[in-house]
């Protein structure tokens, strides 16, 4: 049913329909609305779940790890500094192959302190072994949660997943969202069947020492599962499409890219603005298209290569920066296109919540056409 909902509340509703058995979370802007809504549901008995008001994000994910190891479907949500504090536990969750799903309401990292949006937080956990899915709008943010559980819990995968969507821009914005019903959700996502769990009758140990003889192999297996997850995502997307008509089958989404000279590559809510700017530029005779990255981990190199092979130039919008190198998305695109002659230009943009309008996208495209790139877009040199 189509409803006008705040992004956070739509996500909370979707999480409720996924029937988590344990939720542990800590307040942090702009994530808090999600877990507040879930706390209400638990208190009202409309969600049968343990809700733990822990004392920090570190404890939140640690409690989730324990609950997941004990065989429960588990959920948490955080952002920015909270995710940074979870860093150690994130690696452990992935290493123990526990399929926890966590919403990351993207926000910049301090210092200086900023509560506004960019994607530095989840990008900084790029190498942790968590699947990373990015949503453009609240509908996608909502739907990706069902899909994330399905992929994460697949016994061939068993990896945790971030569902990332932009703080405030999506989380605090009211948009029409088509919610599926609980019955549909149950049909799409059956009850969690743990592959293995803590069980006194059949004892196992999680997270023990791996000597140099074994550690490498553990990392290899995570990497292999990550790679296998691409096909499982496609399958889960296909099933979702067949049941509900919304299409998330591909790890990338192309917009007017077929005959484009300039391809913009971006992730998250900025894609909406880019699409509007592209329509305007197309009307003015400029052949511009968008390649939206939906799954950043695993990175869809083959799809990217195939989608961008015909363009004259690529302009990457990075809402993050690997300081001392480039934006994380640009590095991946360059890697995917290695050996081709297509120039890839990087634009570090919208950090710390700096607004991006259609005219900014037009300017980025003009810059790219002139071969000017690899820069911080919109830098206010007068305050440096």
């Amino acid at each position: 049913m189509m409803e006008i909902m705040e992004g956070s509340h739509a996500v909370a509703e979707a999480v409720k329909q996924c029937r988590p058995e344990v939720i542990a979370a800590y307040p942090i802007t702009p994530q808090t609305h999600i877990v507040e809504a879930l706390a209400d549901m638990v208190a009202d008995c409309s969600l049968d779940c343990e809700y733990i008001t822990v004392e920090s994000e570190f404890s939140a994910l640690s409690a989730c790890l324990g609950a997941s190891a004990a065989g429960s479907r588990v959920y948490s949500a955080t952002t920015s500094q909270g995710l940074a504090l979870m860093f150690e536990v994130c690696y452990n969750v992935a290493g123990m192959r526990l399929p926890i799903v966590m919403s990351i309401v993207n926000r910049s990292l301090g210092a200086p302190l900023s509560i506004w949006n960019d994607q530095q937080d989840s990008i900084s956990l790029r190498d942790s072994g968590w699947l990373q899915y990015y949503a453009e709008d609240n509908q996608e943010a909502t739907d990706l949660h069902y899909i994330a559980y399905k992929v994460a819990e697949d016994h061939n995968i068993l990896l945790p997943a971030f569902v990332c969507f932009d703080g405030f821009i999506l989380s605090h914005t009211y948009e029409p969202v088509d919610m599926i019903t609980q019955e549909q959700a149950d049909r799409y996502l059956p009850a969690f069947k743990p592959y293995q769990k803590l069980d006194c009758r059949d004892p196992i140990s999680f997270g023990m020492y791996a000597t140099p003889d074994y550690y490498l192999e553990f990392r290899y297996e995570i990497d292999q599962a990550m790679k296998r997850s691409a096909a499982v995502f496609e399958k889960a997307g296909k099933e979702f499409f067949e049941m509900f008509g919304r299409d998330y089958r591909s790890p990338v989404e192309e917009y007017r890219l077929d005959d484009a000279d300039t391809a913009i590559v971006a992730m998250g809510s900025i894609c909406g603005t880019v699409k509007d700017a592209i329509d305007e530029m197309r009307d003015a005779g400029k052949k511009v298209g968008l390649l939206k990255i939906r799954t950043f981990r695993p990175f869809p190199s083959a799809e990217v290569k195939s989608a961008l092979s015909g363009v004259s130039r690529v302009a990457v919008l990075d809402k993050n920066i690997s300081l001392g190198a480039k934006g994380a998305v640009a590095l991946e695109i360059k890697d995917a296109l290695y050996g081709s002659q297509v120039p890839v230009l990087d634009y570090i943009i919208a950090l710390g919540g700096r607004d991006v309008r259609r005219k900014d996208i037009r300017e980025v495209v003009s810059n790219a056409e002139a071969g000017i790139g690899d820069l911080f877009y919109g830098l206010r040199t007068e305050v440096l």
Partner: protein, 262 residues
């Protein structure tokens, strides 16, 4: 010099809600600083994250606005890096007792020479009113919509048990007592912990039957009893307010302290 001269007027207006008690605590602290005769160039204010932690931003001296819960760890570094500095920490219940609880007990255990002023509003105010470790049993918050089911921390008992040299509790109603407590804390070598209960009309009061700001202030006036008096009342079987908030000086002692110049 007066305490007003410690304010950074260019940073005003402040972000605190109408009726918030934090401003009172900042004033009391600055009055104590002024009374101590500390100079701006010798004094540093350190804070973590939350409403309380915005305070150093409004004060003219050097300050570190650090990560959530870690103010005491950063302050430990500042004090040991330059023991000549007078170091004051502004923190809150969520910052100090939840995410920073570990740093709190260890700073008290080391008894490092800091003045720690905790604005305890019994809720996560800045993020919109979630239950904190000092939310009283039964109190409403956005994460405890039918009342908190967990017991609250007594921060003063915690600081005392962990080893702080000076511990006292007052409220934003008790302006003179609070100022004197902060002053005594500053005069006492070692870790001084001053808990200041504050009203939070926006996120605590309106959910917990304090319709007006003054209702919560009145509650703090009428439910506080001096520790010594409370002990006497208990011994003699006298009636005291329920719930009761013991206030006053919990401990002043002279355990060996870290960061004190001999």
């Amino acid at each position: 010099m007066t305490y007003q001269e410690w304010f950074r007027e260019d940073r005003l207006p402040h972000i605190y809600c109408t009726g918030c008690g934090n401003g009172t605590v900042i004033n009391c602290t600055l009055m104590a600083v002024d009374e101590m005769g500390w100079k701006k160039e010798d004094t540093a204010f350190i804070s973590g994250i939350g409403c309380s932690s915005r305070a150093p931003g409004y004060i003219v001296t050097d300050s570190l606005h650090t990560t959530h819960g870690r103010a005491l760890a950063f302050a430990t570094g500042v004090k040991l890096g330059n023991p000549d500095l007078h170091v004051v920490v502004f923190t809150g219940d969520g910052d100090l007792a939840a995410i920073g609880g570990n740093h709190f007990i260890h700073a008290c255990r080391r008894n490092i020479d800091l003045t720690v002023v905790c604005m305890n509003n019994q809720i996560y105010g800045m993020t919109g009113g979630q239950g904190s470790p000092t939310t009283p049993m039964g109190a409403l918050s956005t994460t405890t919509p039918y009342g908190s089911a967990e017991p609250a921390f007594d921060l003063c008992e915690l600081a005392m048990a962990a080893g702080a040299n000076y511990v006292s509790r007052w409220t934003s109603y008790h302006v003179k007592e609070l100022t004197r407590a902060v002053l005594t804390g500053m005069q006492t070598p070692g870790l001084s912990f001053i808990e200041a209960l504050v009203q939070c009309p926006t996120n605590y009061g309106r959910r917990n039957k304090f319709k007006q700001v003054l209702d919560q202030v009145e509650f703090m006036r009428s439910h506080t009893v001096l520790i010594q008096k409370l002990k006497r009342m208990e011994e003699q079987g006298e009636k005291f307010p329920d719930p009761v908030i013991p206030v006053g000086e919990f401990v002043r002692r002279n355990r060996p302290a870290l960061g004190v110049k001999v």
